[in-house]
């Protein structure tokens, strides 16, 4: 990589950080418990809109993993999200009515919060419908992982998005408050992912899964990216550039081995496809606040009308992380 390229990337990163600072004016603190953050704490940052129904389980799940503090951006929820979170001492909440799209799909807001509060911390950036799993997550807390990463001088940890879905119609998978979504949506595609390298940022670009085969069979290039790097030992100079798919500086995107070996990595179980999805899709479509003019949501809404089932006879039923490792979707790497 030439000097000129490096310089351009540096500019791009700076621009991201300036944007984040500018967009931070759109955030209003609703509940600021950041004083309670201790130096070693593991943080979680998330942007959400009308996801109150998912929060009880979400918080339980990540508290159990060992997340110490949650930094949430509430993008105009009207379902009582703020009321629900009120009084939780490990939750800090900001509110904004501004455009999700104009804030780089939320990353500007979150880059700002991380720059301000997450410097020197391990920070996990996930959506409310994403459950982070990693090798040994059933026996080792997330701090075991971050300690090991620290020890191994690794700064970023990848976790590919794995869409999970119910057997039967998506609209029949009725989600109850507090429920583990994996109880009703626990099937996934195990072996239809395509990988290529993004030359700009050096990250891998992974597509596939049920969304590619059902919604984007004719336009595979447009299928959503599934590669994610959600866990990073944050530094105030870092910035996500597109969702959590890629970061700057580019070294953080080198979460894969090119010499034949496997690095340790996890997965994000994406529990989007529940009965709540139909309403969400229609709402997001009308708001037009998502990537590529919400093309993704348009495609979903159409396809789900005439093909309401994502399940197929080759779908795998989710059991645990070991299963994902055997199938080759994640790896323990040299963590044993």
């Amino acid at each position: 990589m030439g000097l000129w390229q490096s310089y351009r990337m540096r500019l791009r990163r700076k621009r991201r950080l300036i944007r984040a600072l500018r967009k931070s004016r759109e955030l209003t603190a609703v509940q600021d418990n950041t004083k309670a953050i201790r130096p070693q704490d593991i943080l979680l940052v998330s942007t959400m809109r009308n996801e109150q129904i998912r929060l009880p389980y979400f918080l339980e799940y990540y508290r159990n993993l060992g997340v110490d503090h949650f930094l949430f951006v509430d993008n105009g929820s009207q379902d009582g999200t703020a009321e629900y979170l009120r009084g939780m001492s490990d939750v800090s909440l900001w509110r904004t009515e501004a455009s999700y799209r104009h804030a780089g799909f939320g990353i500007d807001w979150m880059n700002y919060l991380k720059r301000r509060y997450a410097h020197g911390h391990w920070v996990l950036v996930v959506d409310p419908d994403e459950l982070f799993i990693y090798p040994f997550c059933d026996t080792r807390p997330i701090r075991a992982l971050t300690d090991w990463l620290d020890n191994s001088a690794i700064r970023s940890f990848s976790a590919m998005l794995v869409d999970v879905y119910p057997k039967g119609r998506v609209s029949d998978a009725v989600y109850q408050v507090g429920q583990d979504p994996l109880e009703i949506a626990n099937w996934f595609d195990s072996g239809n992912y395509t990988i290529s390298k993004n030359p700009t940022y050096g990250n891998l670009w992974i597509q596939g899964g049920p969304r590619a085969r059902l919604f984007f069979a004719d336009t595979p290039k447009k299928a959503p990216a599934l590669n994610k790097i959600p866990l990073v030992k944050w530094d105030r100079r870092y910035a996500y550039v597109s969702s959590t798919h890629a970061l700057l500086p580019r070294g953080l995107n080198r979460v894969y081995e090119t010499g034949g070996g496997e690095k340790a990595c996890g997965a994000l179980l994406h529990t989007k496809f529940l009965d709540t999805f139909g309403t969400k899709a229609r709402e997001e479509m009308s708001r037009n606040q998502h990537y590529a003019q919400s093309a993704e949501y348009k495609a979903y809404a159409e396809a789900l009308d005439n093909h309401p089932e994502l399940w197929c006879k080759w779908s795998e039923r989710y059991i645990n992380w070991r299963q994902l490792e055997i199938l080759g979707l994640m790896s323990k790497g040299n963590w044993a």
């Binding site: 040994f136 026996t139 080792r140 807390p141 701090r143 075991a144 300690d147 090991w148 020890n151 191994s152 990848s158 976790a159 590919m160 595609d189 195990s190 072996g191 239809n192 992912y193 395509t194 990988i195 290529s196 390298k197 891998l204 992974i206 596939g208 049920p210 590619a212 085969r213 069979a217 004719d218 336009t219 595979p220 290039k221 590669n227 979460v255 894969y256 081995e257 090119t258 010499g259 034949g260 070996g261 496997e262 690095k263 340790a264 990595c265 197929c312 006879k313 080759w314 779908s315 080759g328 979707l329 994640m330 790896s331 323990k332 790497g333 040299n334 963590w335 044993a336």
Partner: protein
């Protein structure tokens, strides 16, 4: 833990074990383990890294002040790979030998070491081997674990710069010394040895090392050796020991970069079954491990030898996974370049070109004969023709041509990965999506059998206009010619067999037999079922017509205008084996 016996009384028992403990972090765990040793009657001398803040150190020391068997030695600054660690163990050892005359063996441990067996077990084990030094010690030529490319040079170059903090200077200085050919002289009589830095030495050997008249020379020399804690005692013990057991009593596994593996709660059973005396490193928050192994257990396994084989296997696998990975797997953390790997795919598979055109129900026949899954044209223009007309395959792989063509390499590697354990075969031809052809040619797992020119058979029976057929034939021939050229290149790693169609039709049995054998046919030796060849009547005339129209079909070899009916089987002939 106030049950520790009075020091004087304990020391009178000849042959206890003294623990020298090097501590730099997780002080509360270190304190817990130190108390455990002391409670078992073992004196402990603790060295705390100078880098630990004074306040933390004082708190730690005061917490252990009650225990008569625990004392603290002069503090040194310990940096990985430098002399400080040796200096620390020297002063702590001297203090141990001086203050506890009853100590016969000194065990060097770290703050993140955890005893796995009752203390008395270790004491008895060593008492039964009063003259033995347990120290891993091998000459530099014979050790495989060296990281960073410095083996014998550890002893012959100088290392004044920190590897961790001043890597640039470190590397530059090494390069410079190599270039100038500067070499240090190894003190006479010393033969450099290396090994795990966690040893257990007898009083005799340890005193001999520490009281050696040449010690100043030795120390001065080793101060500039790279990672001296892995070589100082290991080398000098060879000078003084009467009986060396070259192994460490501390179970300590290293990853591919030479960093120690860490043990967690879920390793409990593995550690228990290892029968090792001490393990490191333990994750400080592994509550269950500390609780289990430090709680008093009556079940002493007197005399049992440590047996870390199972643990070895687990960690060896981890290294293997990190450095080699699973062949043929492409995923978020494994994306090897072509040059980095042997095989492109996960397991062997067979590619057939021209067979489905020449034989009726070739797929079905081959599947019956071999038990393999035989697909149609996986790269056909309309869709991937999965075996049995399926629209989807293992791993929810779709038959959509667009999805497949979007990334043909992923499609093929996925297919082979998803069906591992079951041999796959598929048809290919010049009419198919060609982007995959080069990948197949470079894959040693691919077994490619080509009957060149057989694509003309379906054309000869087509009802389409002749001018159109002529155009198609010209295109297919051009594509196949290019393909054959590629398959014959020196860089081709696939196993390739090519027959011209004329050659094949003349003697089809031996090639078929060979293919079956390679695919692990169920009934080698003889064919009880032979695929029937399509009727080739009029094929020769068709080729002649093409020639008459100015197109030159040559890939099929020479066919007479009047083709006699082919009767299968025929006497075998040697195939034309390219590779």
């Amino acid at each position: 833990m106030s049950a520790s016996p009075a020091p004087g009384q304990q020391d009178l028992n000849s042959g206890t074990v003294g623990i020298v403990m090097l501590v730099h972090t997780a002080l509360d765990r270190a304190a817990q383990v130190a108390r455990h040793w002391a409670a078992g009657g073992c004196p402990v001398v603790i060295h705390v890294d100078r880098k630990v803040p004074q306040a933390a150190y004082r708190g730690f020391r005061d917490g252990l002040a009650q225990d008569q068997l625990i004392s603290f030695s002069t503090r040194h600054r310990c940096e990985w790979g430098t002399w400080g660690i040796v200096a620390a163990s020297q002063s702590a050892s001297e203090q141990m030998l001086h203050q506890h005359p009853g100590v016969r063996h000194v065990y060097l441990a770290s703050g993140s070491c955890l005893p796995l067996r009752p203390v008395q077990d270790l004491v008895d084990y060593l008492a039964a081997r009063p003259e033995t030094d347990f120290i891993e010690s091998a000459t530099t030529a014979d050790v495989p674990w060296i990281v960073g490319g410095l083996d014998v040079e550890r002893f012959t170059l100088r290392f004044p710069f920190s590897w961790k903090r001043h890597r640039y200077l470190f590397d530059r200085y090494v390069t410079l010394q190599r270039k100038l050919g500067i070499k240090r002289r190894i003190p006479p009589g010393l033969v450099p040895h290396m090994g795990s830095q966690w040893w257990c030495l007898t009083r005799k050997t340890l005193s001999a090392i520490l009281e050696d008249p040449e010690r100043i020379t030795h120390d001065r020399y080793f101060q500039k050796v790279w990672i001296p804690d892995e070589s100082y005692y290991q080398t000098l013990a060879r000078q003084h020991s009467a009986k060396i057991e070259s192994r460490s009593l501390t179970l300590s596994k290293f990853d591919f970069e030479g960093k120690p593996h860490i043990f967690y709660d879920d390793h409990l059973q593995l550690l228990r079954r290892s029968d090792c005396f001490v393990a490191r490193k333990i994750w400080p928050s592994a509550e269950r491990l500390y609780q289990t192994f430090l709680s008093e257990r009556g079940d002493a396994m007197t005399g049992v030898e440590p047996n870390p084989v199972k643990i070895d296997r687990v960690f060896a696998k981890a290294v293997e996974r990190r450095t080699r990975g699973r062949e043929g797997l492409y995923m978020q953390s494994r994306y090897p370049g072509q040059t980095a790997i042997n095989a492109v795919t996960a397991s062997p598979y067979s590619v057939f070109q021209g067979f489905a055109e020449l034989f009726e129900d070739f797929d079905g026949w081959l599947a019956r004969m071999t038990g393999a899954r035989v697909h149609g044209h996986l790269f056909a223009p309309e869709r991937a023709e999965f075996a049995g007309g399926e629209t989807m395959l293992n791993g929810a792989l779709s038959d959509s041509a667009r999805l497949r063509n979007y990334n043909p390499q992923s499609f093929l590697t996925n297919l082979i990965w998803n069906t591992r354990g079951e041999r796959q075969g598929f048809q290919f031809g010049p009419a198919d999506h060609q982007k995959i052809a080069r990948l197949i040619a470079t894959d040693p797992n691919a077994q490619v059998s080509v009957i060149s020119g057989a694509w003309a058979v379906p054309l000869s029976r087509s009802k389409r206009s002749f001018s159109e057929l002529r155009r198609i034939a010209a295109r297919l021939q051009r594509i196949e010619a290019g393909q054959l050229k590629m398959l014959r290149e020196r860089s081709t790693k696939a196993r390739v067999r090519i027959w011209t169609m004329a050659e094949f039709v003349e003697a089809p049995m031996e090639p078929l037999q060979t293919i079956l054998e390679e695919m692990g046919a169920k009934t080698p030796g003889h064919l009880n079922e032979v695929p029937s060849m399509v009727d080739l009547e009029g094929f020769g005339q068709f080729l002649q017509n093409l020639k008459n129209q100015g197109m030159h079909p040559y890939l099929m070899g020479d066919f007479p205008v009047e083709q006699e009916p082919v009767t299968m089987p025929k006497p075998p002939r040697r195939p034309y084996l390219v590779r």
